[in-house]
Symmetry: C2
Subunit: 334 residues, 2 copies
Amino acid sequence: MDVAQLGEQELIRRMAEVLSSVANPAVSTDVLVGIGDDAALVQWDSPSALLKSDQQVEGVHFDRSWAEPEDVGWKALAVNLSDIASMGGTPHSALISLAVPTETEVSWVERLCSGLAQAASAYGVEVVGGDTSSSSVIVINVALTGTLSVRGGSRPDPLLRSNGMVGDVVAVTGSFGGAGACLRLLTGAGDKRPTAGLMKALLRPVPRVLEGRVLREEGVRAAIDVSDGLLSDLGRLCGASGLSGVVDAAAVPVHEDVYACFPLGETLEIALTAGEDYELLFTAPAEVVERVASRVETPVSVIGRLVPDPAGEVIVEGRAGAPVEFPSSGWRHF
Amino acid sequence: MDVAQLGEQELIRRMAEVLSSVANPAVSTDVLVGIGDDAALVQWDSPSALLKSDQQVEGVHFDRSWAEPEDVGWKALAVNLSDIASMGGTPHSALISLAVPTETEVSWVERLCSGLAQAASAYGVEVVGGDTSSSSVIVINVALTGTLSVRGGSRPDPLLRSNGMVGDVVAVTGSFGGAGACLRLLTGAGDKRPTAGLMKALLRPVPRVLEGRVLREEGVRAAIDVSDGLLSDLGRLCGASGLSGVVDAAAVPVHEDVYACFPLGETLEIALTAGEDYELLFTAPAEVVERVASRVETPVSVIGRLVPDPAGEVIVEGRAGAPVEFPSSGWRHF
């Protein structure tokens, strides 16, 4: 059955059923009005909140030939969770806007909601509302709220792109290039098929929410989530901080399966520029990074340092400090 | 120049420039982090907030042949403002997610943002973030937050669909059918061209934010905004309240220009079912409605009453109380 045959009211009822099946007890008590009225009403411990929205567009961010609806749902929430994580926040509540062609199978939408519900459950988020519409292409927009723990009376101090300092080292969580390598293989580059590890990196990114909170607790002040490519997003942090960055090519943690699918000469470029990693990049004094690394299970790697050049540029140093050049620094949306 | 030639970073910079040109001083002090980082950080007077998202899809909600980009921008925010209004809230901050084809003119996007900025300025909203993507069709999603004034320590009590009571009369703000009549004329029904008044009703709906606040102050407890059609949305309020409704056909305020463009036999159906009105429908004791009417400039009309039938049905009474039937009660999204 397609969504036109089912009708909007029944579609929303079924979506709400799947989404509320994992209602998070901790958040539920803070949802005063959830799905079903004109707007939701939520409350928090403190009178401030993080707000973020991001969308997944069919044919741009995913293709139904290689992404299951559960994957699309997971990722639609995960990319927003990653942004809340990079501010050092705790995710709270979400609104889902879904636009789908009238001939979309109802089961596809239900499975999408199941993926959303998996991510919501894993990260303690409650879906409190949204909107559905017909459209010629599938677009899933998620608006996500989050909270920042505040120590008695002080102003909330999120991790910011603009807080980088001279003397900071540049560090990252996890590994890079897995999602980008997978996308290249799926869209025809190379003659190999993506490994299961690469598919997981592309379809099921793991937002670093716990890690973001630890960063803030340990005194890190500058961070960004890497969605458009490591060099591109480091460049943004540098630009916002009025500094530049130097990356040690040999220190960049490349997803291990990238080596299995691409020649050695391409792996670094993929890791630095291909995007969709959803890891955290942060800067802090070296000893602070060490404290963070000792508290989280996810590997933390120091990959470079900030330098006092206000141009906001990033230099990649290869062997013996020689600069490495790339044709592009990151993902282009247009 | 199109958005692909300009590039995403410069597009976002230009959008932010237009959107921040009308930054609202009252809200700005509450925006701790605005456009430009991974997420926004806002604060409110009280630790609770209304949340709503709604989208405008090209070919479904608007067509570039008859909607100027400023109109699309205005309406994308206005439909969300209407939902905050129907809860009795005060709009606060917004996230804009924009998906557009790569060949879209940059000036179209700038004019869209200008329309968003007009609505933001008129209703004291600040745009604090969002997302851009390419897409085969234009989709503008707005996520809007709002606040509810709370009297010392009490729980926030929004206007709810489920709060209708036996003995309440059914009342509405403004007039109905203007937007729906316009859409019918634009999409080929009838041989007339829409009047300027009908175009304004469709393209520039006026969210009843002040009126929603007055409703709450005067003790109204049940409301809904009429987006899908008067009968359809009254039916939702009735269903949520476990009651039914009776509408007096002669009391329904029809947009005056509808009479100029459609035969008399069709005007009532258009007013009751065509949708896109973005007026408030509320229920309360008659004397409360009178107090509301005396405090707002927008006309307020009593059009019916709630009755103790739990079926959630709506009956329209014509002359001498005879029921009037319609083929459909409202707008179908699929």
